[in-house]
Amino acid sequence: MINELLLQFAHWMEAQEYSQMLVAGYYSYSWLEATHVLTLMISIGSLFIIDFRMLGWVMPNVPASTIAARLHKPMIIGFVIMFITGALLVYAKPVETIQSLWFRMKMILLLLAFINAWIFNNRLKTAEGNWDNDPVAPGPLRTGAIISLVLWCGVVTLGRYIPYDWVDCTNTTNTTILWAAGCVDQLNAL
């Protein structure tokens, strides 16, 4: 049911004039993709430095809360640009993207990464105090930092897999993969 609705929505988006303009213009799509990828250096670069500080890998002599607070703004700016360009990339190729197993897995990891970030921020606020100048953050924050690193590495890796066609709807007959990728037409044809 949900796969059918998503596919209908994707077809509706694909029929939009601006969606076709984005994908038809070689440079518009390339620039969008390039901006999406290059903004990694601002968003994930800043996030990883915060995580590395929690683990004591960078600048252990600078208070952890200072690093987190000072890098918060560039990180958010980076993520906002990434989400806008990411949404436009989906808008440009909606059917292909919505039926990509990698894209769906990426969205799940993205959701988990945000839940982890929310928990991490709450822990950071409640843990403020005597550990701030320690070279390594307390256990729960370290765990949050490791989970964050793993999830974001997964997000980037799955994002990199999206252009590859190993498990595209037309390349597999495995019903579980077809269902997970939302390949409605192929499932109906079986």
């Binding site: 390339s30 290059l38 250096m41 670069g45 990883f48 590395f52 960078v58 890098l71 897999y161």
Partner: protein, 195 residues
């Protein structure tokens, strides 16, 4: 006398020497002479070297290494931005810039090493294509220039004395140059995928 002058301006003279070398390479057509000879090496990288064979045979391995390349570039970018924006006085105003320069350098070094190693693997997988791409060669030149700039100019200069003793405009110039260099490397790398 001459020795003391040379040691005082060692970095500036090194930069001048590199610049002159580049001019000579171009004027004397050395680049054009070297380029055709490299084609067989690139073909070997792609078809015979083990990294080239793995890269061309296993798409999933290639894509995973590509992701690692992106991740190492993200870490590299994060360290460069944190340091350079501090040098420009935009962020981390309450942290001494010397602390950031020394605190992020090790992480930068690891990220650069990782980016180079994964980059070699990625290039080997498509070596027969990138050889003919102008954007690939621009990226390589800027990467070499950037690495030399970081290791032989920026880091030695910023760790040689307290930053209050360095002309503020020199510091700003170094920060802007550093950001431009790494942005150019990353942007050219992205453009290789479109070419």
């Amino acid at each position: 006398m001459l020795g003391s002058i040379l040691s005082q301006y060692a970095r500036s003279l090194a930069v001048l020497a590199i610049f002159l070398l580049m001019v000579l390479v171009e004027v004397l057509d050395i680049r054009d002479a070297i380029y055709p000879g490299l084609e067989s090496f690139f073909n070997w990288m792609n078809q015979s070297s083990w990294i080239g064979v793995i890269g061309t045979t296993y798409g999933s391995v290639y894509a995973t290494v590509e992701a690692l390349h992106l991740l190492s570039m993200a870490v590299l970018g994060g360290t460069v931005l944190a340091t350079d924006l501090r040098l420009l006085g935009i962020i981390f105003k309450d942290v001494p810039s010397e602390t950031l320069v020394t605190g992020t350098h090790k992480c930068f070094g690891w990220a650069l090493l990782m980016a180079i190693l994964t980059g070699i693997f990625c290039a080997a997988g498509v070596a027969n294509k990138v050889y003919f791409m102008e954007v690939f060669w621009i990226k390589m030149l800027v990467l070499i220039a950037g690495s030399c700039f970081m290791l032989f100019i920026k880091q030695p200069l910023l760790t040689s004395r307290p930053h209050t003793q360095i002309n503020p405009w020199t510091i700003r110039l170094v920060a802007v140059t550093s950001m431009l260099i790494w942005f150019t490397v990353a942007a050219n790398g992205r453009w290789i995928g479109f070419s």
